[in-house]
Symmetry: C3
Subunit: 131 residues, 3 copies
């Protein structure tokens, strides 16, 4: 049940193709081999109010990745790096016009206090042979 949720500064959607960015994030997550495709949910939330540093026309993206418990720290660190590197490559051109800050944090979901049983994605993908 990997979740990737990102917050970003208003205006970034005009500088970067964010649907394509979401696909790049999905691909980077799938490529790690740690996450089943049917669990990947990537989404972004545009800030309604935003002030970065001195209030200049800077842009930011802050990525949060949450994943089920059970992977080793090494595997998680490698996955964080792979996802970050893909985001960095995608967004690097955005730093040409203004200052830019990209951050990522990964954390495990507590298996005792999380529930995910209602999920028809896996069977849906299986029916299409994509699982």
């Amino acid at each position: 049940m990997p979740h990737l949720s990102f917050e970003y500064s208003p205006g970034l959607e005009a500088r970067a193709d964010l649907p394509a960015f979401a696909a790049a994030m999905r691909d980077a997550m799938a490529a790690t081999g740690l996450f089943p495709l049917g669990g990947i949910r990537v989404r972004g939330h545009r800030a309604d109010v935003c002030l970065v540093a001195d209030g200049g026309p800077h842009q930011f993206m802050d990525i949060s990745v949450r994943l089920g418990a059970g992977r080793s720290l090494e595997a998680r660190k490698a996955a964080a790096e792979a996802i970050y590197a893909a985001a960095e490559a995608f967004l690097k051109p955005c730093a040409a016009e203004s200052a830019f800050a990209l951050s990522l944090e990964m954390r495990e979901i507590d298996p005792e206090l999380s529930i995910k049983r209602f999920n028809t994605l896996h069977e849906h993908l299986q029916a299409r042979g994509e699982a």
Copy 2:
């Protein structure tokens, strides 16, 4: 000070009555007996960018519940289950038209690093006899 915040895929608002969903979540939280009514804040954030699994027209909702420290693990697990069950019952019909994934994670708020003193909800409800 229980918070329930959910992220959801664009378009879900056309398939489910989300204000009624928020009320169902509030009711489920209140019914656990763990949360004072004056502390319950339910809100939802529609994703501006979204890609689920293979990029098909799938829908998701991801619920985050945060609550003050001090309840037993058993009480928290039961509350998570009760809230999830209410959400599942409400959203089940959404899975008829497309794949759907519902997830919930609960976590405790660190009492050392949280502040909530400015809250006039309790006195407001008391004045109305709803506390």
Copy 3:
């Protein structure tokens, strides 16, 4: 890499000058001396769906502060208090018209599972002599 992200009830933007609020938050963070200006990213997300307590016309703001590891608990508690006090002073007038609830939670970012290397804010501020 301090992040301050807040969620708020719809309509609050008509009662409070939220861009000025964001600046007040940035100032409060900078004044703690714990955070380099080039790392501060303040943003707010308006709820698309919202239900507070009994469903009355109440307003809320919920602030999440995330900061890098390494500061003492005492320093973090003092910073949380300073930021909360600034938010409280700013938003106090909002409680005149309806019930209001302000909450803040601070937490540390796991240094092992976070990455922030792509950040041109520091050099940008340095070039302007603001770092």
